[in-house]
Point group: C2
Chain length 176, copies 2
């Protein structure tokens, strides 16, 4: 108690809304390392970061990044759906492979929902696939207050349906 305080070896998680150029490689690396996404999907994730970095004012994509000691642990990409008033899409929610199951996805979602509500968002949508790989994704949405709103058979490919999950942000969650 008489000496200097060493730098905190485990600084808290930090949330950041504004993209930085370094996020392009970080997001690509994070998405790749999950082993969950195809190369085409990783490319799309990176493209949205790139587009928003290039045109921050005109892009309709928003980001929320969760990092610890400068390392990206997860992020969401979301935005108001063009042509709608107050309907938002959760385009991406990614958590680092070695950090899954620790509540980071839930925390990112809650923080993202708060930002969407502050922007006047009423509805949040998340699209996902019916493939077995996405069962945990579906479970996550169902556990966080989303309801299945639609299912389009053979949407992504033959036998691969799109499931649209929806969550109303302007009324308390249903308890039924």
């Amino acid at each position: 108690v008489n000496g200097t305080i060493p730098p905190d070896p485990t600084p808290e998680w930090r949330l950041r809304d504004a993209l930085r150029p370094g996020d392009l490689a970080a997001v690509r690396g994070l998405a790749e390392a999950t082993g969950f996404f195809s190369a085409a999907e990783v490319a799309i994730a990176a493209e949205l970061v790139e587009e928003t970095l290039s045109n921050p004012s005109s892009s309709s994509y928003r980001f929320l990044l969760l990092e610890k000691a400068g390392t990206l642990l997860g992020y969401t990409c979301y935005g108001e759906i063009p042509g709608t008033i107050g309907s938002f899409d959760l385009y991406w929610l990614v958590v680092a492979a070695d950090r899954q199951g620790q509540g980071l996805g839930r925390r990112l979602l809650e923080e993202t929902e708060g930002r969407i509500a502050a922007l006047g968002g009423r509805q949040l949508y998340a699209e996902t696939s019916s493939r077995p790989q996405y069962l945990p994704t579906c479970g996550f949405y169902e556990a966080t207050g989303f309801q299945e709103a639609a299912r389009l058979p053979d949407y992504y490919a033959p036998g691969d349906s799109m499931i649209i999950y929806a969550k109303s942000l302007d009324s308390p969650a249903h308890s039924d």
Copy 2:
């Protein structure tokens, strides 16, 4: 029978797939003149033409234009939905205000479906609104073999649902 044949005063309708620079103003004028679309919707319609004229190879939007004697009577804008294999979206189908009810929309749709099938398209989707203004639109889709696949309440705005119509292109139309 001994003289020259005068130019046909009523040349046939012509279909054209390749956009030309003049189509930007023509599409904007056509969409505006219907009185059906909001200024924001007209702007989006024009934007898709502009984007495709600027980047014909990278744009995922395709167009089919129906004209008579150089005047645009209607058009469709369609394309494969990114991230899917063989699912196409019918983004726009517009027929000139003074040419509606003459089967042009149906002809444009059939020709567009043929092009989509030739590109390997399996499914065609069309999104529309539940607002009373769109009842004739819904009637058109129901009369041309689409089925309501989903309805998302309050999607466009409170009280304004999105209806997703779907049509399978790789099997004969249902007759029920």
